[in-house]
Symmetry: C2
Subunit: 320 residues, 2 copies
């Protein structure tokens, strides 16, 4: 929930006048996204999202993010499309911040996940990976396996405030993952944060993927691991094999997973669980008391991690 | 900034299906309004605001608020119009809360007030007062002069935390206003909260009045006093006579102010200043530490109050 940068009407109208999208007639700060300020703007022609990039997004990464959306949209992936201003540029400046206008995508993100959502997600994720194959710009995963230990170290001393045994779990997991992390799985452009609130549906049909601000080059199967965690656990933290099977089967129908990728799934899922556990732990410990936005519970990801430590192989994810 | 009630897609889609406004295709929580949860929704036909009324709005007042918007819209006042569902009702239930769908109003609220805005405001306010004259439902002002002392008493003990001399000022002002408050000025339906963020413009033209959730029956000139405070002081807390003159003249061109009303302006302005001083004081003292939404500074209204205590007559508001 975020509108961090306040923009005067004069500034916003002058900014919009530099695009060929009609005149500004409305602007509402929207309560979605935690990294950036987002306005839903109406013009005499259409609706758009105006994003001001706040400090958590590195400015040098913006050409990758906006270029990727351009690239994907041109290949038919349903995603927001950056609007280029009259000067040809998509990345511009507003109120002293980098800013972009992107197309407005219809759809609602699913609050209650059903297996049909997971099947739609799997297909779209594979299509996204295929479309990204010839994208020219590269971006390193800034929250990959090498980043987990330094991230943990910023929180280690206070991990016990969340749970007494958390430090022990994370440390043994860091050791294990550093030893067992796979070395040569197929790589590509991955979304890396494809949670339900980043996937829109109209009825049962997927209508859009949004929020590419963690996208990077990494193992494509790691993207699946992020999704298995984000989409296939129930509220009671039990794993729903039906959802996982739908996700993996629909993905596999578009891009066949290799034996190595399948075998690596349990370790990739542990890594993905640890990555979100660590960022949630960091946010939990660094949240100002009384803040309106309650940080997400890191212990949820402890439960997921423990599930993946117990699986005996990819079959436990519903695969035959 | 507020989305307090989370609504699942299934609930929202089922809710929208009970209206004749097309199918739901998007919904964004919007970061405006502090009393209610607001979603900007898109359907296959148009855009609308979906409001869920939170606890600060009394449910028994909703027929007044929604009926007033119906009444005003029918008389050509540019304001949100409640959409009636297929069952004829505008006030319905969603996620366990009273809820209404209202039309989406184009326009931007002015962050930098110019005299032309004040002229537009004055004309629209007078037209609003005229249109409200035959509205059948009545609602008492729940923040009128009789409510100020009890409200102050909930904060009195801690007033010194804001400013050492605040208690003395408020107490002398309560005494003075109770003695001097006028008794028989022309009454009508007033907005009672017509701050710049409740008035939309497209270019220099007023395009809409919103947020009728403080509307009530009271002195019409008191509404002007609220606006003089909210629109005519500069950021350095100095009073801008040009803006006040524009506001009052444009209002007077539509509805002539009586000599009694003009003479009462200084005392009405003091009352209006005290009313917002007191609610801000209450919010300031009751804001959780570290909350994301910073409460508004009560001392701003102390400055306004002190200005009005010093004026010698209505001429100080730019009137000839």
């Amino acid at each position: 929930m975020a509108v961090y940068t306040d923009v005067s009407d004069e500034e916003m109208m002058a900014f919009i006048a530099e695009y060929d999208i009609g005149e500004l007639v409305s602007a509402k700060g929207i309560a979605e996204g935690v990294e950036n300020s987002n306005y839903l703007i109406g013009t005499t022609k259409d609706h758009f999202i105006l994003t001001l990039y706040e400090k958590r997004v590195r400015e040098e990464d913006l050409p990758f993010f906006l270029g990727l959306m351009d690239h994907l949209a041109a290949r038919g992936i349903p995603c927001p499309e950056p609007v280029h201003a009259k000067d040809g540029r998509a990345l511009r400046q507003l109120a002293g911040r980098p800013a972009a206008v992107i197309s407005f995508l219809e759809g609602l993100w699913p609050k209650k996940i059903r297996p049909v959502h997971c099947a739609e997600l799997g297909r779209a994720l594979a299509q996204f990976h295929a479309a990204g194959a010839d994208f020219a710009i590269q971006r390193k995963n800034s929250l990959g396996p090498k980043d987990w230990r330094p991230l943990y170290e910023t929180a280690a001393e206070r991990a016990h405030e969340v749970d007494e045994s958390l430090a022990l779990l994370v440390e043994s997991e860091l050791d294990a993952l550093e030893r067992a992390w796979p070395h040569d799985l197929p790589t590509g452009v991955i979304h890396a944060d494809l949670f339900p609130d980043n996937v829109f549906f109209i009825g049962d049909k997927l209508s859009g993927l949004i929020d590419f601000y963690f996208a990077c080059n990494d193992y494509m199967a790691y993207d699946l691991a992020v999704c298995l965690n984000a989409w296939c656990f129930e509220r009671d933290r039990s794993f729903n094999t039906t959802k996982a099977r739908q996700l993996l089967a629909a993905y596999g129908a578009e891009r066949k997973l290799s034996r190595d990728e399948l075998n690596a799934l349990p370790i990739l899922c542990r890594g993905a669980a640890l990555r979100f556990l660590l960022t949630r732990l960091y946010d939990w410990l660094n949240c100002p008391p009384g803040a309106l936005v309650k940080p997400k519970d890191p212990m949820e990801y402890v439960a997921y991690l423990q599930f993946h430590r117990r699986v005996s192989g990819p079959g436990d994810y519903g695969l035959e």
